[in-house]
């Protein structure tokens, strides 16, 4: 049901090998592959399986990093995009005092 799966599936089906780690980035392929890997029997986890698990942890961190980055970007642009102005939030400092009237300066 998603666009993303097709390239990972193609990579895994026709690739020369090792593309499962790249395909795991897709939620569709990653979930199915991880469930399949963990259900292959109760024996020791092999080198190849450790590699896939490590990549899944990397993708987990990547998705979390993307989520935090997007949230911080939203926070930084929220006021400007929605036209919000906050009183006393002037980054240029306090407003300069009004200029003295010219006549007052000339007065004796």
């Amino acid at each position: 049901v998603t666009v993303g799966p097709f390239l990972p599936i193609l990579l895994a089906r026709w690739g020369p090998g090792g593309e499962e780690t790249l395909a795991s980035a897709s939620p569709f392929f990653g979930m199915g592959e991880l469930t399949d890997l963990l259900g292959r029997g109760g024996g020791a986890i092999g080198h190849r399986e450790w590699e896939i698990l490590a990549w899944d942890v990397i993708y987990l961190m990547g998705y979390l990093g993307a989520a935090v980055s997007l949230l911080l970007l939203t926070l930084a642009t929220f006021d400007r995009c929605l036209g919000r102005t906050i009183a006393g939030d002037d980054k240029d400092g306090p407003a300069p005092p009004p200029p003295r009237p010219a006549l007052a300066a000339r007065a004796p």
Binding site: V1, L10, E19, G39, G42, A66, L71, L75, L82
Partner: protein, 459 residues
């Protein structure tokens, strides 16, 4: 004076749409994405030396899967998103009543809106055609298969757009339309595999042959999955059925538009029974800590349509998760069921979540209630985090069933792997929520934000 053609609504909406640069940028991006996909396939296939005739034919077949699969999935998602806001958004803004007060007929309003929104989707399909037919020159792609795939894609585009527009006549909010449309499309596509599984477990009769044809992916790939069968006839019949159903839905929309709009205009926005639901809910965040999160948690209860969509998804996910866990524990049924259950329930749940997260802010912008919130002394940080947590709370239940299925599959030796599955689902959900909130902040038009959110997340 009698008017011919689709009428002024179509002329106005199509003129507006054709002057937006985003329409053309989307087409360019789509063709560029197809080109990038083909490049990846070519590098994988031909990156290790020169290809012979057989290798070229296999590459052509891989191109066919990549092009048709990508295009079909994109149309499945984009066509309903284009028309989901057609009626309900105008009604919530009040502009629909102005249109109804003119001498425009209901058919001109409905068909004008449908046609103006359908043309960009069909334009996307046409943009992909030269790429697909160009790939025929490599060999490995049957021209009949390419024509059949285009027919299936067009049928899906017309039916998806018309279904969303019909639901939009009754729905109050855009995300309700999208939730139900995507759920119906998923049920239709997965009806065959679900029936086959029930046949194994509950002793049902074998699924009828036509049920396979409700899955557009199966139908488009049929020339390669079932070589030798008359695929083009079946694909043309699929297009005919889609057009017939679309015509029936359009007629229904025309007949009910005015009555539903007038009835909804006199209906109060809130109903009394929701107050009862508020009291029955579990305790949430305090009002003093973050008023925005408190409001999202307690006051923004899902509408009836959204509840139906989420409950249907939850019931089916629960049923198949139990079957998958039973097959893992007892060894009965198909051994491939647990991976498929997790592979399908997680993206589908995330799709529903991405729709909900985009609309959490976009709908408030349309209604103007966000302006009220912005005039309060609440800090920006409190507003953004309140909105984020309010949308993200739907992601937490999505991780429960995949985690339990994985724990059942993994057994006592590998059960910690279930924690990784739960963590991944929560991370996907966080990314979908942040993307939805960011897009609804940056894109003022809710329809565009929805389309972008769904398409970007699914890529």
């Amino acid at each position: 004076m009698r008017r011919w053609g689709l009428g002024p609504v179509f002329a106005w909406e199509w003129l507006r749409a054709s002057r937006r640069w985003q329409l053309y940028a989307l087409r360019v991006l789509f063709v560029a994405a197809l080109g990038a996909g083909l490049t990846v396939v070519w590098l994988v296939k031909a990156g290790h030396g020169a290809l012979g005739i057989r290798g070229l034919a296999e590459t052509g077949e891989a191109f066919f899967y990549a092009l048709v699969g990508t295009q079909l999935a994109l149309v499945l998602l984009a066509a309903p998103a284009h028309t989901a806001a057609a009626v309900c958004l105008d009604r919530s803004r009040g502009t629909l009543f102005h249109v109804l007060a003119t001498d425009l007929s209901d058919a001109e309003i409905v068909l004008g809106k449908l046609a103006a929104r359908l043309i960009p989707v069909i334009g996307l399909v046409i943009c992909g055609m030269p790429v697909l037919f160009g790939a025929i020159l490599l060999g490995g792609i049957d021209p009949e298969a390419a024509v059949g795939a285009i027919l299936v894609t067009l049928g899906v585009a017309v039916l998806g757009a018309t279904l969303a527009l019909t639901l939009s006549v009754w729905a109050r909010q855009t995300y309700e339309v999208l939730l139900l449309t995507y759920l119906l499309v998923a049920l239709l596509a997965l009806a065959g595999p679900m029936w086959a599984e029930w046949q194994v477990w509950f002793g049902l009769p074998a699924p009828p042959d036509w049920l396979e044809a409700t899955n557009p992916f199966f139908l488009a790939f049929m020339p390669y999955l079932r070589p030798g069968t008359n695929c083009l006839g079946g694909q043309a019949a699929f297009l005919g059925i889609c057009l017939g159903l679309s015509a029936a839905l359009a007629v229904l929309s025309v007949l009910r538009l005015r009555a539903v709009a007038l009835r909804e205009a006199g209906r109060p926005a809130r109903r009394g029974h929701r107050q009862v639901l508020v009291r029955l809910r579990l305790p949430g965040p305090s009002l003093d800590a973050n008023p925005v999160l408190w409001r999202e948690w307690h006051r923004r209860l899902p509408s009836r349509w959204a509840r139906v969509a989420w409950l249907t998804y939850g019931a089916l996910a629960l049923l198949f998760s139990v079957l998958a866990a039973c097959s893992a524990v007892t060894g009965a049924g198909r051994s491939q069921l647990p991976p498929w259950v997790n592979a399908l329930q997680v993206p589908l749940g995330l799709l529903l979540l991405s729709v909900t997260s985009v609309t959490s802010l976009a709908e408030e912008r349309v209604r103007g209630t966000i302006d009220l919130l912005l005039t309060t002394p609440l800090s920006t940080r409190a507003i953004v985090f309140g909105k984020w947590w309010g949308a993200y709370r739907s992601a937490v239940p999505l991780a429960v069933l995949p985690g339990l299925v994985t724990a059942a599959v993994a057994g006592p030796a590998r059960w910690p792997g279930a924690l990784l599955v739960v963590g991944l689902v929560l991370a996907y959900g966080a990314a979908a929520t942040s993307l939805g909130l960011a897009l609804s902040t940056w894109v003022a038009q809710p329809g565009r934000a929805l389309i972008l959110g769904v398409v970007l997340f699914c890529w």
